[in-house]
Amino acid sequence: MLVEIRNLRVQFPTATGLSDAVRNVSLTLGQEKLGIVGESGSGKSLTARSILRLLPSNAILSADKLTFDTIDVLRADENALRRIRGARAGLILQDPKYSLNPVMTAGAQIAEAWRAHRGGGRKLAEQAAIDLLAQVQIRDPKHVAGSYPHELSGGMGQRVMIAMMLAPDPELLIADEPTSALDATVQAEILRLIEDLVSRRGMGLILISHDLPLVSHFCDRVAVMYAGRIVEELAAGDLLRARHPYTRGLLGCLPTLGHRQARLTVMQRDPSWLET
């Protein structure tokens, strides 16, 4: 198993004591595509970031088990973590506008990532950057390598981010809402690209999103989170056979092109979902 999580808990101190943001989450991941779906504040990003121990400084992390390829993430020191973060597990964030350095060219940023993880000379890294840009299906990689982030479109920027994550040849890719800031056509292209790279390189993928239909379309397995807990885990194809009322509610309140409804179903939240 690439990732094993047992009884993960993330807490934050508040004025009235500790508040649980993630509670009793258990997950395993191999070379597969796992989707984590939930609404804002459900703890989906915190769960995925716990694997890299990339949490806000006031977060309190605990688990019975939290391993990345047999490395105990809970007890690892900063040095050991650095060999995971970016190197063996890459993280793609929502908006390339904020994740890319605005005063470095795309090529220089990818080359920097390459050299940080693999060493080697400047020339070699620059060539590698252009190769990586070609791998993420950029038609004119030389030109894009010489461009600054503000000269690139959102979809192009996200490809640059993906190219940078691929530089150290990671085993796991965590994509946190990678396409929410993009248009539908671009969104489909980027997801297809991620899917293709993941299967070609035999990587594990964790795709985090609020969009249940989209995730089930691109993943093998989907975990649905509500209020810090996984309420349901199911094979992507079984989405329409979802049992949990929250999952069904999420699907039910979506307007669809397929059928017309006079009023949308509104989710009735049940306090019992917070228990067990």
């Binding site: 089930s216 669809t256 092109l257 509104v266």
Partner: protein, 248 residues
């Protein structure tokens, strides 16, 4: 109610909206869909008076619009934006936010109007003295809608009003918009990239691509796939593809 004829908007050398024409009847909802940069928001901004640099002809309620708008126009036409956090003043309480349009337009009985306004968007009276950061995203968007309704407008221009919200909250806000329209006979123009949202709320839809309205069709035709322009078909296909995972 709204007539747009040959509307063009330029930003420097870029023609963001090219000779656009459409009409919206009183009490109707008209949707505009398109990708980012297609010019859909630019149309709304020209209509609302946020961008005075346009050419062509726009008429609302029989009045031809000029670059400068009267106070009466701003009472009649209100806009709701995508991000309620960005569009509400962070240091004003809900009470202050809602009373400002009343003061500007010299409307009577602010106390009663504010309470009725909150009630209308299904917010409890307790949020009245809270600040925007103390509210959830859905509550904030309700405040933004309540504020837009304070001046008793006839036209609401909605720019991606639910894109920043969770789907469960989106359903509540869309239902609210339907109810308000029925209760007040409002005319809507809704701009969104989400075809399903537009088809849910609107009877007719305009599809924009690169500043032009390439197709104008009914929501029923859009649902059924009776499209004329390839861009409409491709937008629709993407939307369908992602909503029905079991077909693949």
């Amino acid at each position: 109610m709204i007539e747009v004829d040959g509307l063009s908007v330029r930003f420097g050398r870029v023609e963001a909206v090219k000779a656009l024409s459409f009409g919206v009847a009183r009490g109707e909802s008209f949707g505009i869909v398109g990708e980012s940069g297609s010019g859909k928001s630019t149309v709304l901004r020209a209509l609302s008076g946020l961008n005075p640099d346009w050419t062509g002809r726009m008429v609302i309620d029989g009045q031809a619009l000029t670059p400068h708008r009267s106070k009466e126009f701003h009472r009649q036409v209100q806009m709701v934006f995508q991000d309620p956090y960005g569009s509400l003043h962070p240091r004003q309480t809900v009470d202050r936010l809602l009373s400002e349009p009343l003061q500007v337009h010299g409307m009577d009985n602010p106390e009663r109007r504010i309470l009725r306004g909150l009630n209308e968007v299904a917010l409890p009276a307790t949020v009245r003295f809270r600040y925007p950061h103390q509210l959830s995203g859905g509550q904030r968007q309700r405040v933004a809608i309540a504020r837009a309704l304070m001046a008793e407008p006839q036209v609401l221009l909605l720019d991606e009003p639910t894109s920043a919200l969770d789907v469960s909250v989106q359903a509540e806000v869309l239902n609210l918009l339907v109810d308000l329209q029925q209760a007040r006979g409002l005319t809507y123009i809704l701009v969104s990239h989400n075809l399903a949202v537009v088809a849910h709320l609107c009877g007719r839809v305009g599809v924009m691509q690169a500043g032009e309205m390439v197709e104008l069709l009914s929501a029923d035709d859009l649902r059924a796939g009776r499209t004329q322009h390839p861009h409409t078909a491709s937008l629709r296909e993407l939307s369908i593809e992602l909503e029905e995972p079991e077909t693949t």
